[in-house]
């Protein structure tokens, strides 16, 4: 039996009231619930407030560079598919600096779980617009308001046939737990974009703002219907759907690679005789 407490209880560098706290708690709950021990899981993150999460967990972790978490995770998972690999980072880290890797991870469909703490702002650098900031959103850096279309992570994920695409809200504890649980259980790439109020720099998209708008997708919603999922993924504004927006059964990348059928790369060796045979081809 694993207890959420096994994942530790650390002092954080987050602001009181920050939406990161409930996400951290949900993650611990899910892992304990799934009976995953701290040494079986690897957290990978980038740089930002959200990206500090692994430091507040008793687990293996690799806290890498801003924007580059996904591919450290990819490498680790390919090397050792037995690890449960969870990537946690911010919206800026994942969709800004890391945008290209996000596309590649969706295409690869490796069994990683990506939890994005989406506060629609650059928190750690004190409040510039992030890719998910809404049009017209005013910051110190965008005094005339953001003049770009926001990035639509869920729509992009659905457009690229991402394996598991979900949204949740940091205030909805049980819902988050359920989404993360399903995401980890899903064999393939999972994206869980969690709306996360930033009490210090995003005074528009507050918990109240989100709470008023977020509604759970109805039970009859069919996340395997791509067209419906595309539409749902794009819904934003007065009504914001949370739940599993899209899911498919594309096979896990690792399962498709012949070389991984023989088990993890880690610990495996090439027999000297094989090397000798290869060398002999250069005669």
């Amino acid at each position: 039996m694993i207890d959420p407490a096994d994942y530790g209880d650390f002092e954080t560098a987050w602001c009181p009231g920050c939406g990161n706290f409930p996400i951290l708690k949900a993650v611990k709950t899910v892992l304990a619930g799934a009976g995953i021990a701290p040494h079986q899981v690897l957290f990978v993150s980038g740089i930002g407030q959200a990206a500090k999460t692994p430091h507040y967990l008793n687990a293996n972790f690799f806290n890498g560079l801003h924007g580059r978490a996904l591919h450290v995770a990819t490498g680790a998972k390919l090397a050792n598919p037995e690890l449960v690999v969870i990537v946690e980072s911010g919206d800026g880290c994942t969709y800004g600096e890391g945008g290209n890797h996000f596309l590649a991870a969706l295409r690869r469909n490796l069994d990683l779980t990506l939890i994005v703490h989406d506060n629609q702002i650059y928190g750690l650098t004190k409040g510039q617009a992030s890719p998910t900031s809404e049009e017209g959103f005013v910051t110190k850096a965008q005094p005339e308001g953001v003049q770009q279309e926001p990035f639509h992570p869920l729509a992009t994920a659905v457009a690229l046939h991402g394996g598991f695409v979900a949204r949740s809200l940091s205030g909805m504890a049980d819902h988050m737990v359920e989404m993360i649980r399903q995401g980890i259980a899903h064999k393939g790439f999972s994206l869980i974009d969690i709306l996360q109020p930033c009490v210090s720099f995003n005074k528009v998209n507050t918990f109240g703002w989100y709470k008023k708008r977020c509604y759970e997708l109805p039970a009859e919603y069919d996340p395997t219907d791509w067209e419906a999922a595309m539409k749902t993924a794009m819904s934003w504004g007065e009504k914001i759907p949370v739940g599993v927006i899209y899911q498919n059964d594309r096979s896990d990348y690792a399962a498709r690679l012949p070389v991984l059928k023989a088990g993890p790369l880690v610990g495996r060796k090439t027999a000297p005789a094989v090397l000798g045979r290869i060398l002999s081809r250069y005669l």
Partner: protein, 560 residues
Amino acid sequence: MVETCNILIGGEAGQGLVTLGQLLARCLVRSGYRIVVTQIYQSIIRGGHNTFSIRVGTEEIEAPRRAVDLLIAMNEETIRLHGGRLTEKGVTIVDESVELICDTCIKVPFKELAEPRFFNVVALGVAGSLLGLKKELICALLDELFARKKPEMAEMNRRVLSKAFEWCGKHTGVSVSLPAIADPQKRIMLNGNEAIALGALSAGLRFCAYYPMTPSTSIPMTLISTAKETGILVEQGEDEIAVINMALGASFAGAPAMVATSGGGFALMTEGVSLAGMTETPIVIVVAQRPGPATGLPTRTEQADLEMVLHSGHGEFPRVLFAPGSVEECFHLTRRAFETAERYQGPVFLLTDQFLADSYRAVDPLGVEELPFPEPGTDPAVVASPYRRFVLTEKGVSPRLLPGKSSHLVVADSDEHDEAGHITEDLALRSRMVEKRLQKLGGLLHEAVPPDYAGSSLPELLFVSWGSTKGAVWEAASRLREAGRDVAALHFSQIWPLVPRQFLGKLEGAREVIAVEGNATGQFSRLLRRETGFEIQREILRYDGLPVTPEYILDVIEKL
């Protein structure tokens, strides 16, 4: 001086030049000769002008040569461009239609002998015959190439080859003599990139990530061709940033990892290099140089990225730079790179260039079956509890466990961290962590590969070189010695860290020192001055995209 024969095949991309060159080269190796191949090509898929040169000898050779003994001209342009390089007795093989008047031309009726797509086989036959190679040997090679996949092609090839040999026997008097080798040594033919790939495999590589970039691409391609048997994974990334981060993730998890790229791609990896330094993650990084800046001359050669690689990545952390001087060194230094990366937990570089990457050589058996390789990570059984990934140690190296492989928790942090690996703002600890990381330099200095030296101890003239110019410098020095001059050569295949006591006496002992480098600013020479204060007054530099040859050096020396 080494007696050698220099064969140059020229033509345009798409004419089967490389196949022809490789077959001829392999046949020479099987016949017991030593070779040095130089491939010169343009950034173009069809057309343009490319050459494949094979310098052949009975003794060990490591340098290309400019003068040509046998010119295989697949088009007229080749004669126009390279005719001037022919030696006095030099012979040219060319299609009979070519109108050029040349005494030493063997005008071959290509069209009579085969369809256009087999012209390269005709040339192979004529050249083989002239060189006195055994037809059966070439036939066997052609069979190996085609017999399995396209038996009918093998048959056709063999037929064309026979015709060419026959024609040659009847119509040419000349020969381009190679001294026969009675008892040919068994050697393999490898270019620098293949040797790196094989060295990496023999050192335990499990994971390679790459994004294609000339002239590094054939490293991952070679690895891919073995993946089924070796059980390694070679992953193409969407960009170089993905590549290095993937490799770091794989290495962290316990799969010895390598990436290969060229200057521009490497520039994109430099933040990752710093990450490797901070997280103390082993990684082998191959930078196959080509002329810059920016896209530069993508298919040519240069040695101008030394300073960039040496100082790449922000902040301060130890690293090691190897610069192989031969194909054999590519193999052995790659092995050493893996071992060093694992033992010192950080980035280790191999600096090569297009010339060496593409240069085939005859390599003595490597005995891979017996070569040891390091196990990634520390044995969890010997680690103190609670495990602290970055525990301060005297030598700066801490036990590295693999995540998921024991109940210990393994962490890596790009922020400054405490011994447990957690982010810290304790500034006294920060200083100690900086020192811990830099402390590794001590061990690295202790193990540094000393430079090679040839010549008397207080020579009149000393050449200093690094990396792929080794053969050219070595040979230039030996030719000058044969001409009665007291010339020595000092060659570095480890660029960093440097241990002055290994070589400073040599520099100071020489009457004159000349650095030979494939760049325009004398980067290594500057580095030597920085590390020793010794100023090299004269430099022979080349930066037109071509490799340094012995002649290139001798020409300059003559003019002094």
